[in-house]
């Protein structure tokens, strides 16, 4: 049994201006200890997928479908069960380390909080464990480290604190939503290394969300590409970086800056706009921006086609990898 299995997950935000279809028929599975990257541009549903997994969707959103985690369907459970799960079996780290920590509370207490909550540790032993976690994530040892406030740390250190916080209860699944986007490039690499090491060390599964294919390629075994709330391509990272089947994935790949061979090729921008989730087209959502779109794409929803073993694309005319 996989650790996580999502089937036909749909998330809709109900609003007077029209229902926004944020996630459409999302489905994937994740084995214990494996790593999955979700890539796509802003607003494609990456973060919403993560929030659905955490049960932290906005109040106005309704989710249907099935999220099976460690054998239970999460969508059916009550709030108390979600609270027992969050930070305990599924943990998440967020994009902005600057604002993701409580500015008025020392970091020691913030890291220790989950331990007192889920492990029932006393204040002192949870702080001792927090100290050990801060060591592990590489916050430099110094006087009164547990009493430091977030504003006394650098951006990279804050992200390390958030990682320590997420790992405190040794979750089975860690979701990292753009964990390095707000950091300097050199710090990015350190944080990615740390994440990769910790995932291997603790045997956790990892869902890494990023708009950056380079980041995904460095860490993940499997890649999912999302567009307008749908999964448009999914493949092993090896297969994906060998060849992309969906025109959108190809365009994303073309927009990737590469320093290779001294040639200064222009970056290929993807023209056009993502469709409004309240007014999605009848056929393929990528039709208007697609270089190979036809009238079929406009009229009919694309099917999911297996272009190779374990390599799928949501497209009428996928390329053979």
């Amino acid at each position: 049994m996989p650790l996580l299995q999502i089937e036909s997950l749909n998330v809709t935000i109900v609003a007077p201006s029209g229902n926004a279809h944020i996630l459409r028929d999302v489905g994937f599975k994740l084995e214990r200890g494996s790593t999955l990257g979700i890539v796509g541009e802003s607003g494609c549903g990456k973060t919403m997928t993560a929030l659905a997994l955490m049960g932290l969707l906005p109040d106005a959103a309704t989710a249907t479908g099935r999220i099976e985690f460690e054998g239970t369907d999460l969508l059916g459970q009550d709030e108390a069960a979600w609270c027992r799960l969050r930070g305990n079996r599924i943990a998440m780290i967020f994009q902005e380390p600057a604002s993701a920590l409580n500015p008025l509370q020392p970091i020691g207490r913030q890291v220790a909080e989950g331990l007192t909550l889920h492990r029932g540790l006393s204040r002192l032993s949870s702080l001792a464990e927090a100290e050990r976690l801060l060591d592990r994530v590489g916050i430099p040892q110094r006087h009164r480290r547990l009493d430091s406030f977030p504003h006394e740390l650098s951006g990279g250190q804050r992200q390390r604190v958030l990682i320590a916080m997420a790992l405190a209860c040794k979750p089975a699944l860690l979701i990292a939503d753009e964990p390095t986007s707000a950091l300097d490039v050199t710090v990015q690499a350190q944080i990615l290394d740390l994440l990769r090491d910790l995932v291997a060390e603790l045997g956790m599964a990892l869902i890494l969300i990023s708009h950056d294919l380079g980041v995904i390629g460095e860490v993940c075994e499997r890649v999912i590409v999302m567009y307008a709330g749908q999964i448009v391509e999914s493949a092993s990272a090896a297969a994906f970086f060998r060849g992309r089947a969906h025109p959108y994935s190809q365009a994303l790949f073309g927009a990737l800056p590469r320093a290779r061979g001294g040639e200064r090729a222009r970056l290929a921008a993807i023209s056009g706009f993502v469709p409004d989730p309240r007014e999605l087209p009848r056929g393929c959502a990528f039709r208007d921006r697609c270089p190979i779109g036809t009238s079929v794409c406009e009229a009919q929803r694309p099917p999911t086609i297996a272009v190779a073993e374990d390599h799928f694309a949501l497209c009428h005319f996928p390329s053979a990898p």
């Binding site: 955490m54 932290l56 709030e79 108390a80 609270c83 027992r84 799960l85 969050r86 930070g87 305990n88 943990a91 998440m92 967020f94 902005e96 604002s99 993701a100 920590l101 409580n102 500015p103 008025l104 509370q105 909080e113 989950g114 909550l117 889920h118 406030f149 504003h151 958030l162 916080m165 997420a166």
Partner: protein, 315 residues
């Protein structure tokens, strides 16, 4: 932290100096003879001359200002023209009423507003929230003098639980003196509590949308636990700001409410001094009120630093 306090103390002193200058210029330097204002246009020339000498009006303005400030520093506020007693004594007497009244009103307002605001925020868009906000809307719309009259009608005249006005003095009977302050304090506190509850609610709701609250929830805290442990303290900054501002409104409200309840407080003293044109009292009490407002702002600044570690570094 020491640098922070020192800077605020300097600011406080500068503000007070400026306030004293404004009060002096408005009351004594701008055209119009203060002695004539106090005595009226039909005063005897001899009386007028006497008062002018007593007030030192024969001296140049800068010297009078310095004499006044020097007196203030020594605690000598001069003699009230109408009461013929030292203004300092008068003020201390009146403070015995106004200070407990304001403290009672602000405690009442805070004790009521913050829990109600937090509760409303935790029941956001549910009927508990709507009910509290409806009451707050009502509380904001009611002027405090009208509320004071209403309270007198219901609790003093109809029910007879409290006296309708007057103040027996602390030495006579502390219990009765306290009781005499209850209705005025409620009249002062309720409109302020209404505003403060709304501010608390929206500050907490704002904080509930912050990233760190999402982090707290991702750790497994329930919405309410995240509110109490993480959002509330962060929401205190705007709440403290409003509380500091409300103190001035409270002092202004005290002028009116003390008159409705016949309380011999500072507000009533100002009111009477203005109507009797006792400029010596007006000048000193106005500066005293300004000093009170400035001091409260100073305390609010210190409280900010107590709440938020980022402000302690002095940057």
């Amino acid at each position: 932290m020491i640098a922070f306090v020192l800077r605020r103390v300097l600011g406080l002193a500068a503000t007070l100096a400026a306030a004293s200058l404004v009060v002096f210029v408005v009351l004594e330097v701008l055209p119009g003879d203060p002695a004539l204002v106090m005595l009226g246009t039909e005063a005897q020339p001899q009386t007028l001359a006497l008062l002018r000498a007593e007030m030192g009006l024969d001296q140049p303005a800068p010297q009078r200002y310095l004499t006044w400030v020097a007196g203030l520093v020594r605690g000598d506020l001069g003699l009230s023209y109408t009461y013929r007693v030292p203004v300092g004594e008068l003020v201390v007497q009146r403070l015995e009423v106004t200070l407990p009244l304001t403290v009672l009103a602000i405690s009442l307002s805070t004790a009521l507003a913050i829990p109600l605001g937090v509760f409303a925020a935790s029941r956001h868009r549910k009927w508990g929230d709507s009910a509290i906000m409806a009451f707050a809307q009502l509380g904001m719309a009611i002027p405090n003098f009208w509320l004071a009259l209403l309270l007198v009608l219901v609790f003093a005249v109809q029910l007879g639980w409290f006296s309708a006005g007057g103040f027996p003095g602390w030495s006579e009977s502390p219990g009765a003196a306290f009781q005499a302050l209850v209705l005025p304090a409620i009249a002062l506190a309720l409109p302020q509590a209404a505003i403060l509850a709304r501010v608390t609610r929206s500050a907490v709701l704002d904080m509930m949308g912050e990233d760190f609250v999402r982090t707290a929830r991702a750790k497994g805290l329930s919405r309410d636990a995240a509110l109490w442990r993480h959002a509330l303290r962060n929401a205190l900054i705007p709440v403290l700001t409003i509380m500091g501002l409300q103190f001035s409104f409270l002092l202004a409200g005290a002028v009116i409410v003390e008159n409705v309840f016949y309380l011999p407080g500072l507000g009533r003293l100002v009111f009477q001094a203005v109507s009797q044109r006792d400029l010596i009292v007006v000048k000193n009490v106005v500066l005293l009120l300004a000093a009170a407002v400035v001091t409260v702002n100073f305390i609010v600044d210190l409280l900010y630093a107590a709440v938020d570690p980022r402000l302690r570094t002095g940057r």
